[in-house]
């Protein structure tokens, strides 16, 4: 009785081993399509965004006949790779290697967690594959391009713009809202409370905020650090109220963004919320906060009804129609494929990476999130870093107004006094919560 069991187990082990070896070493299929690897945490909202954006771009391109490469049209074939990068960095690098070695992809888009994207970037560069990063914001990814161009020139930032610009944009939003409060409520000395989740990525932003806020002519009321997964933040909110803060500068990427907004609404804390609240970027925020998240604002990439240019509306509306939600910035795999790769390949007439890099790094093209151009460093070295600012990519300031997410920034924004004003189509005025008006109305 025992021997058959042993035989079965040995047989299973042998079959599995043979299957693993076959599966890992099977020859690639003949290249009749342009293969694009989409890598990201596919079990999470970020990875789903990567995949949705890429499928939308591929479907649109394929429906139009494909990409013209020299004298032939080639269709796009997407290959999905779950990087599992939130849990396991090794897994992420294996997924990248597999995309390149086994799936034989021509290009790669995606990536999210910087610690994972750095080694993933190394693998793509070793194999001379163009990798458009859509998700990780850290400056280092593009600084590497400038430092060692020959090795890292195949990397381009797709979205979002780097963390330095993210911080800068948030401070502009803060200044904009502070000016509105000053003008509307005649508050002389605006006090700002920083509410940042207890996570390492918020540390440099807190440090920068502590330096920048006084320079902006505002008073720092204090820094509060709730847990990223806190479900009750009434203690922090009460303390913020006692501090006399008029503005709460939020730095949240985790679920704490929901209870913070909900309880601030329930307690009618007389301070407006501005900054980064990733939860408030999602369509489900209104329901999750039980309508108490009204008037909460955050930095965002896309917003229904707001158009950076004529390409924004078809993309956002098409995405909403197909996937039932507003695209997040990881869905910019759409831009990476449709507006970066396709025209570059068609212009070059080849899939040769070096030729494409030379064209793409000097390209200037319109995308649904603005005009894309790539920066050079102070020594003139290519960085493949997104150019931020009026005329290029700026992102949006968005605010929940009675159940709808509305864009409020840029609204007649001037980057420098002599620059032209920037206002996107669909931008509406910022609304101060009624209980804040009541608290400070003189």
């Amino acid at each position: 009785m025992k021997k058959p069991v042993v035989s079965i187990i040995i047989a299973v082990v042998v079959i599995v081993a043979a299957a693993v070896i076959y599966y890992a070493t099977r020859p690639p299929e003949a290249a009749a399509t342009i293969k694009i690897g989409v890598i990201g945490p596919m079990q999470y909202v970020q990875g789903i965004g990567h995949w949705n954006g890429a499928t939308m771009a591929a479907d649109e391109i394929n429906a139009a006949g494909g990409i013209q490469v020299g004298d032939k049209k080639m269709k796009i074939e997407l290959v999905q790779a779950d990087s599992n990068e939130f849990i396991n960095i090794t897994d992420a690098t294996n997924a990248m290697e597999r995309l390149i070695t086994n799936d034989k992809v021509d290009f790669i888009v995606g990536g999210f967690r910087t610690e994972a994207v750095l080694p993933m970037q190394d693998i793509a560069m070793e194999n001379k594959k163009i990798f458009i990063g859509v998700g990780a914001a850290h400056d280092e990814l593009c600084l590497r391009v400038a430092k060692d161009y020959d090795t890292y020139k195949y990397f381009f930032r797709g979205s979002p713009f780097n963390s330095s610009y993210l911080g800068r944009t948030s401070f502009i939003h803060l200044g904009t809202v502070a000016a509105i409060l000053k003008n509307t409520l005649n508050i002389e000395n605006i006090k700002v409370a920083i509410a940042a989740e207890k996570a390492i990525w918020t540390e440099p932003m807190i440090k920068a905020s502590e330096g920048v806020i006084p320079k902006m002519g505002m008073e720092l009321a204090g820094v509060w650090r709730p847990s990223p997964v806190a479900t009750d933040v009434t203690a922090e909110l009460s303390a913020i109220q006692r501090s006399g803060a008029h503005i709460i500068f939020t730095i949240f990427s985790s679920s704490v963004g929901i209870p913070f907004a909900r309880q601030a609404g329930e307690l009618k804390i007389p301070a407006v919320q501005v900054g980064i609240n990733v939860e408030a970027q999602k369509d489900g925020f209104w329901q999750a906060t039980q309508q108490m998240g009204n008037y909460v604002s955050t930095l965002n990439t896309y917003c229904r009804g707001v158009e950076y240019n004529e390409l924004t509306k078809p993309f956002v509306d098409g995405y909403v129609e197909r996937f039932g939600e507003t695209p997040t910035y990881t869905a910019d795999t759409y831009t990476a494929i449709k507006y970066a790769l396709k025209p570059t390949i068609e212009k070059a007439g080849t899939l040769d990476a070096d030729t494409l890099v030379a064209i793409l790094e000097n390209a200037s093209y319109m995308a649904p999130s603005g005009k894309v151009e790539y920066l050079k460093d102070e020594n003139g070295n290519h960085m493949h870093e997104l150019k931020w600012g009026p005329g290029n990519i700026t992102a949006l300031g968005v605010q929940w107004q009675d159940g709808e997410l509305k864009g409020f920034w840029p609204n007649k924004w001037k980057a420098v006094p002599e620059a032209p004003e920037v206002t996107y189509k669909g931008i509406v005025p910022y609304k101060i919560p009624p209980w804040v008006i009541e608290a400070y109305k003189k």
């Binding site: 082990v13 070493t25 540390e203």
Partner: protein
């Protein structure tokens, strides 16, 4: 020429009398030959990457077994040694410009120091209390990593580290060679007098102390040895991945090591090594069904541990081999009498 013939004959005799007679030894030889000739059969970079990482993690899993399996010092924070090895090797390479052949052993020595640092306060603790205390150490270290981002790279880790070699095949052979070498050393340690004392400490520490053996010294030695081997694995990992980041210190990494060891069979050395060679490639193989990959992995673990609570490899070994009740020599289970003393096998 005669000398060569003599040694060849001796080799054949050893193979016939010592290897072929036991299935487990045949499996080891086949395993060795598989690893040796893998790059001959495939030059696929992805396959070689998977097996290189498998070899590195096999060293890590075996090092946990040396400490927790043999000595009974239940360590739930083994990622500490791995992370310290990885970070130290990375820093030494990046800041002191010492190449990998120097930075990896130096990193392992720093991991030994870490073994001493956590070994000393943990000496008074046993069982659950020791497990929970050791669990805390990598978390503390991660806090330090985030507290000194200029030195440790903070959330990003330390990247841009030198490769061991530029050839994937060479990297693979280095990892495989080190895995074989280090696991043999660990196995030899457990088979030595020191190993017997490690065993005894696990079974009855009071009795060992009553026998006049300084158990404190041996427990510290176990922490340091385990730290050294895990540190080597950490250094290899950092140089292979070209990054040493906070993920090397994550709790999930500590638990993964425990899962490998328990799956393969604790207090065996070969068990955790075999488990890594099954589970790590299996997880990659399951990529064809991404949504249920982790679930299927968990199901495999549960089924194995449900039916083989002592681990897969001890269970398999017991099925195909029998120990002689008289001379304790192992025989293939199909034999009715012992191959050495001819005693009847039950």
């Amino acid at each position: 020429m005669e000398l060569i013939v003599f040694y060849l004959r001796k080799l054949v005799t050893i193979i016939m009398n010592e290897v072929i007679v036991l299935p487990s030894r045949v499996v080891v030889v086949v395993f060795f030959l598989f690893l040796l000739f893998l790059p001959v059969f495939t030059s696929n970079q992805y396959t070689l990457r998977i097996f290189t990482l498998t070899c590195i993690f096999a060293i890590l899993a075996a090092s946990w077994d040396l400490l927790s399996g043999f000595t009974g010092q239940m360590n739930f924070g083994h990622a500490l040694f791995f992370g310290v090895g990885a970070y130290s090797a990375a820093m030494i390479n990046l800041h002191a410009h010492i190449p990998p052949w120097g930075s990896i052993p130096l990193g392992a020595l720093v991991a030994v120091l870490a073994g001493l640092i956590i070994g000393i306060p943990c000496l008074r603790l046993r069982g659950t209390y020791l497990a929970l205390t050791t669990l805390a150490f990598p978390i503390i270290l991660m806090g330090l990593v985030f507290a000194f981002p200029d030195l440790t790279g903070g959330e990003l880790g330390i990247s841009g580290i030198e490769r061991i070699t530029n050839s994937r095949v060479a990297n693979y052979y280095i990892a495989a060679g080190l895995m074989f070498g280090l696991c043999t050393i660990m196995w030899k340690i457990t088979d030595s007098n020191t190993g017997i004392i490690f065993h005894a400490i696990r079974e009855d520490e009071l009795a060992v102390r009553a026998s006049g053996i300084n158990t404190t010294r041996y427990k510290l030695m176990a922490f340091c040895l385990s730290g050294f081997f895990a540190g080597i694995a950490g250094g290899l990992y950092a140089h292979f991945m070209r990054i040493a980041g906070p993920s090397t210190l994550e709790v999930s990494m500590s638990f993964l090591v425990v899962i490998w060891a328990v799956f393969g069979g604790v207090a065996t050395i070969y068990g955790p090594v075999g488990a890594v060679f099954i589970l790590f490639p299996l997880l990659e193989f399951l990529r064809f069904w991404q949504e249920y990959r982790t679930l299927m992995f968990a199901c495999v673990l549960i089924v194995i541990l449900l039916y083989m609570p002592d681990g897969l490899f001890p269970w398999l070994r017991d099925k195909i081999e029998t120990e002689c009740p008289r001379c304790k020599i192992r025989n293939i289970s199909s034999r009715t009498t012992c191959r050495v003393c001819t005693a009847r096998l039950d």
